[in-house]
Each structure stands twice: as structure tokens, then as C-alpha cells.
Symmetry: C2
Subunit: 434 residues, 2 copies
């Protein structure tokens, strides 16, 4: 049978991982497909310094991506450079030239996914985006194919391995965020500029893609309330453990009767939930379906070879579709808008909350905080305080009965005028039952 | 666009769950596909008593499956009757008539999967078998598509919800197997005849299918060493917990340098493994890939609607393939045999073992058991004994260093001549790192 030819643009970690798998695993790939995947062209600004596996045979090496997308021998272009500017040019040009595209680019898909799908369908080509979310976990194949017959009602993910590593290190060693971050940077688990990870933007892009697929809706990062993990303190784990909870950066999409509530934020999750067992740099996604109930998916979130598996598996799927002449026909990002899944404000979220306060020791503090909550109709569930000798600034916790984020914010605004607060209260939703 | 028409044979739990989803979720299904799935015919021996959702519109109702597979309007037949005799006739006839088939039948696929795939490919039709393993978990889509680019090296599953429910009840309440089984039968979690479940045959069929897909090899149930959970005692959990382990019925497929070792058996698994967090009637599959490393999949193993989701998702995939004219071309059950994955005997397994003994109290027992192990070159890791007042028959435990099952069996054979044993020693492999 005739082979399908691949061009690869971008030879960073993921690009080289992809080449390794395509070279080493070529026989099994061909056996599964019934035909071969052949790498015809690779592109990198420093292509001459890159270790291209000899087993791939003769490959066009170029520093100009335009040569790859213009190469008439190339059937599928894998865009593995990242970022949203040049990457978009590469993807658009490839599609325009009638080539299918596989991409690992979460930022690109989160910002322009709908348009890119529409372009691909218009040009009669295929698109593979599995590697853009949770590298080693085939969660997009699950949502698009595996549980396509279900109706997703909620989706919770741990989507950023750096944050999950940092949080579980804080938990394990009772060490402050700043020190754990420095150590993570030293070990290469966090970037020199950690903003994309620790401030939640990376997870936000991934949630935008997951929610678009799960709910068939156009969702942009700006629809997602986003808060990073910088404010999480070791003491939050001590309080969480008292209640048999832990703290994770949770990306959540919840269908409510009035619309879809999307958030990335530190959250308390009960230790009885399977998400609480996700430690270190792993990723996981928990999906609730109306018919299939709860399913859970877990694996490496990043890394050359786990992400490479996602790229290669997508190349295989797209190659099958090319061979059988079945282009993408329906965008998974925007089915006809049913209206029921429109994103709505986080203020509509209803949840119990964990509120941690750092205060100067004065009389009457609890009474004033309780009054601020009561004024918004918020009931207190518990007041927790660890033995005070351990803490200079008396961090203590109030947990609430379920209330809306809107009411909570009003209460927090009132509290912000109280003169004994060392810093604004730190609020996290509590998830007992995922 | 033109619809794809479905005929359903078998209206038991899964059949009715499938009809419910096809009726209630029709709009979302059509939006995702770009065309409708339409139920044209249903068959059951008691079809007149079955609640066929009115929303499906006019449907041919018959007690004769031959009318469904002969109906020229039907494009895909869903075989949901179970068993391997009539079901095979239905599937073979449908394929012969040029219809694609979706089946939830693990027994059929485990026994005749290779032949049925070959028939389907020969007739140019498609086959969907997602519902045959771990109902609510789309694990077959994961293996066939999601991580197709990887090379699976090991796969461990909790594949029988009844057994997992029984084991976690024994663990929770310290209650003997027989009593828990009776209670499970009363609650409807176990069949009146529990053999298929508690003796491991159900899990064996599912493992045969999973291993065939993961390793691309023809595997039959007889290739799988199978042992049920009847011998597991509450005291095994007490000993397991002492070592921070638990006990589960584990279906395992491991690639070794000499071949594939397949087993379904009670096993000790460390509490630090994510499989240990699977409690109650849930199913889970843990996959190790050479490139993607560890991934884990969890959900409902059975039930009308979770299994219905698998059937409907398969119908959607097959319908897409019918519409794009892309029949199955390569059997996922038997790629060209690469040889490296041939099943080999469980005796080649190398593992540490947990050995539980029930003995009459006599002097010198440990010495004689130790001598039997030493004679086979097996090193003892630990000897554990709970305070003896709790136990009439002194169950105690020896754990071993890693050894082969062959050596272990030789030692157990020698031990079987020892006159102080109340029953044959009970052996379980220990899995510290899944």
C-alpha cells in the first residue's frame, strides 16, 4: 500500500520525541495502519544541530517552514513550534495548501480553534489536536470518540503538571510556595519565568479546548475565571487535612441550568475523590456524563515522548482518514449552538467555600467576619484554628455552607474594609464529591 | 444529510439503555455527526413487553433477529443479546448481508474476535466492540486510537465490578467472602450463579480482548491463567494493610523478553498505586507504554446507561465510517504476527509473592516451610503473624523476594506433603509499582 507522508515543523522537545517514536516504532505503526508513515521534511531554525534519526531515511531538512507546507510530497504537517503567531501562519498555510495538520499547540487552539477547524473543513482536510491538552492522556479522543454518545455535564481537570508538582511538594514538606518554586526551577520542573504555569494561564488554555470539545461550544480563554497558586500556603494543607481534603489547581467546567461555569483556581478537594490521588507532575481529567456517569483519565501531562505519542497517534488517525478520503466534516469546537451551554459568570457558581484569614490579633474579629457573611445570607459551617504558637499572624479558617460566588464576593468586599486584616482573605471552593 | 439506520437485536439492560440514549440524546448525536442515527428495527423474544421510547418514531418490532439482519433499511446491527451461540449467528449473518456490527459481547469477542474481524474486513463493513470491555470506560478507543502510536508493554485492569465490590466489602467490614457474596446477591450486585464473576471468567474474557488490542495478537481465554477470589479471606487484608497494600482481582498482561504473560488472579497491590484507589463496583485499566509511560482509565464497568454510552459511541463511529465509505481495513486483533508477543506460561512470571498458610500449631513449621522455599532458591522477605488470640487456625504469612512462579509452584508442591497444613497455601503476586 501507498504510504502517507509527514512534514514536521518545530524540532524542540516534542518534535524530537515525535521523530524518535516515528523512527523506532515504525514497524508497529505500519502494521496497525496497513501502510507506512514516512517523514519527508523537517524544519527548525537550527535544523543542522538536531539529531534526526537515521532510520527515517532521506529527509528534507530546512530552516524555512514555508518549504515544508509547500512540499508537494507532504500529506500532513505537524506544527510543533508552539506560540500563537508563526504557528498560526504555518497551520493556515498548510490547510490552504490542502494538507492535513496535527498540532500540539494549546495556545493556538484555545485562541483560534474554531476558525482553524472551520478552515480545515472548508478545505476538505483533517486536523489532529490531541497533543494540545494533557500530553500523555488521550482525553480528546475520549471526548470526541470514546464517549461521544454521552452528554457531558461536568469536567474537572488537573491540567498543569508544574502546579501539581509544586502543590504536592508544599503538602509533603510544609515548605512555602516561593521556596518550592525555586527548587522546581532548579530541577527543570518549572520555567525561569513561571507565570504561564503558576498563574493558571497554561491550564486555562487547556480547559478552553477541553470545554469546547466536551460542550461543543466556542469558548475562549477570556470566558474562564483564572487564579493561580501563588497564594496557597503550607497552612492551607494543614487545615485541608483536618477536614480530610487536599488542595489542587482545578480546572473546572460545570453545566448549570443557566449556562456553563468555567474556572481555573486552587480548590479544596476531598481526599475521597480520585482526583486527590493525583500527585507530582501528573495530569488527570475527571468527566461526568449524564448517561455514562463518572470516568477518570490520568497520565503524564508533558514530556517529549508522552506528548510524542499524542502527536504520532493523531498522525495515524489523520493518515487513515486521508487514505479513506474522509475529510473532517463537523467542527467539534462549535456544533450548531444549542444555547444551553453558553459560558456564564463565575459569580453564578454555587459552592461551599474555604476562607483563610491572616489577621492582627484583636478582639471581636470572628464576630465582624461572621456579620459580613451573615449580611450576604452566607451560613458558617465551621471555624478552624490551629494551635496559635505555631503561627505569627494567626491564619485561621472559616468554611461556609453552599453560597454563590457573587454573595461571597460581596462579603469579601465588605471585609476588605476591616482594619485587622494583614491581607485580603484567601477563598477556595470546596469539592466534596467529584 | 442522509441518516444512518440502526437495528438493535436484544432488549435487555444494555439494549434498553442504548435505546434511551438514542432517543433522549438524538439532537446532540446528530449535531456531533452532522447527520442522524435512526433506529429502524428492534428485536427481542419479548419485544411486545419492552418500553420502546416513542421519540424514536416508527420502528419495526420483531421477535426474529433474522428480520433485522435482512432488513434492507438497516445499515448497522447492534448485537446486544450476549452469549456466544445465537449472538455469533446474528453477527455473522449481519456481516454476510453487508451490514456493519456493533456488539457488547465480551464472550463472543474473546472466543471468536479474530475470525469476526476477518469476516468484517472481507465484507468491507465496520465493527465496533467498545461495549464488550469495561462498559463506561472507552478503553478500546484509547488503545486503538488514542495511544495507537505507543507500544504497550504492560496492562493491568480491575475488570469485574462484582469482584471489586466483594473485595472492598470484605476489606471494609472484615466479613468472610461467603457472607459478602450473599449480601451482594441480595442487593443485585452479584448473579444467583456467581461463577462467571467470582471465578474470574468474566475478567478473563475482557482481558483476552484488551490484550489482543494492546499487543495486536490472537489471544484466546485459554492463554490466560485464571483464578477467582473465593479463597481471599478478611485476614489477607489485615496482613496486606500491615505492608501498606490491598487485595484486588487483577487482570494482567505483561510483555517480557520471552513473550506475553497473561493472568487474572487476586493480587496484592501497594496502596501507593492508583489502582488501589478503585473501590466498589468500578472498573479501571492501567496501561504502561514504552513512550507514553503510565496512563490510567477509570469508570463504571457495567450498567444500562454506561454500557449504552459505549454502544452509542460505537454506532456513531461506525456511522461516520459508513458515511465516508471507509470500511475496516486492518484487524486490530491480529496484525501481522511479529512473534514478540506470543503468550507464554504463567510459570515464567517473576514476582515477589505473598503466601498465606493455615496450619495446626506444631513446632518447626516455619523451619520446614523455609526449607521448602530455600530448596527452590526462593528468599524470604518477611514472616508476618497477627496476634494469635484472634485466630483459631493461626493464619500467618510469608512474603518472598522476587522469584519465578515455576519455582514457587515447586515449593508449594513440596509443602503440600507437610502434615500440619489445614489447606493448601494461598499465593498472590505482590505489585509494588504499577
Amino acid at each position: 500500500m501507498q504510504q502517507v507522508n509527514v512534514g514536521i515543523v518545530g524540532l524542540g522537545t516534542v518534535g524530537l520525541g515525535t521523530l524518535t517514536i516515528l523512527a523506532e516504532n515504525a514497524e508497529q505503526i505500519a502494521t496497525k495502519l496497513g501502510f507506512s508513515l514516512c517523514v519527508k521534511a523537517v524544519c527548525s531554525r537550527t535544523v543542522d544541530t538536531k539529531p534526526i534519526p537515521a532510520a527515517l531515511g532521506p529527509v528534507q531538512k530546512t530552516t524555512d517552514w514555508r518549504e515544508v507546507v509547500a512540499n508537494p510530497d507532504v500529506d500532513v504537517v505537524a506544527e510543533l513550534i508552539g506560540g500563537s503567531h508563526v504557528a498560526r501562519e504555518v497551520v493556515d498555510a498548510a490547510i490552504r495548501n490542502g494538507k492535513s495538520v496535527v498540532t500540539a499547540n494549546k495556545e493556538l487552539m484555545a485562541l483560534y480553534g474554531s476558525e482553524i477547524w472551520d478552515n480545515a473543513i472548508g478545505q476538505g482536510v483533517n486536523l489532529g489536536i490531541e497533543a494540545s491538552v494533557a500530553g500523555g492522556i488521550p482525553i480528546l479522543a475520549v471526548l470526541r470518540e470514546g464517549i461521544a454518545g454521552d452528554r457531558v455535564t461536568a469536567l474537572f481537570g488537573i491540567l498543569n503538571g508544574t502546579c501539581n508538582y509544586i502543590l504536592t511538594e508544599i503538602e509533603k514538606h510544609n515548605t512555602p510556595f516561593d521556596m518550592v518554586l525555586m527548587e522546581a526551577q532548579r530541577l527543570g520542573y518549572a520555567e525561569a519565568d513561571p507565570t504561564m504555569d503558576v498563574d493558571g494561564f497554561d491550564a486555562r488554555s487547556k480547559l478552553a479546548i477541553l470545554a469546547a470539545l466536551a460542550f461543543g461550544e466556542r469558548i475562549t480563554p477570556s470566558d474562564i475565571y483564572t487564579e493561580g497558586i501563588r497564594r496557597v500556603m503550607p497552612v492551607d494543607f494543614l487545615y485541608a487535612h483536618q477536614m480530610d481534603y487536599t488542595v489542587r489547581l482545578i480546572a473546572a467546567a460545570r453545566q448549570t441550568p443557566s449556562g456553563l461555569i468555567l474556572s481555573v483556581r486552587p480548590s479544596l478537594i476531598a481526599n475521597s475523590t480520585i482526583l486527590a490521588s493525583v500527585r507530582g507532575p501528573y495530569n488527570a481529567v475527571w468527566v461526568r456524563g449524564q448517561y455514562g456517569q463518572d470516568t477518570f483519565y490520568y497520565g503524564r501531562g508533558a514530556g517529549a515522548q508522552p506528548t510524542g505519542v499524542a502527536v504520532v497517534s493523531d498522525l495515524m488517525r489523520v493518515a487513515r482518514e486521508i487514505r479513506s478520503g474522509s475529510p473532517a466534516r463537523v467542527s467539534p469546537f462549535a456544533h450548531e449552538r444549542l444555547g444551553e451551554y453558553e459560558p456564564i459568570s463565575i459569580e453564578r457558581l454555587k459552592s461551599p467555600y474555604y476562607l483563610r484569614f491572616r489577621v492582627e490579633d484583636k478582639p471581636g474579629i470572628i464576630a465582624r467576619l461572621a456579620a459580613a457573611l451573615a449580611a450576604q445570607g452566607i451560613s458558617i459551617d465551621a471555624v478552624l484554628q490551629l494551635p496559635e504558637e505555631n503561627w505569627r499572624d494567626l491564619p485561621f479558617v472559616i468554611t461556609t455552607q453552599p453560597t454563590t460566588e457573587e454573595s461571597l464576593r460581596a462579603a469579601l468586599k465588605e471585609m476588605s474594609t476591616h482594619d485587622y486584616l494583614i491581607e485580603a482573605p484567601f477563598a477556595m471552593p470546596m469539592e466534596a464529591r467529584l
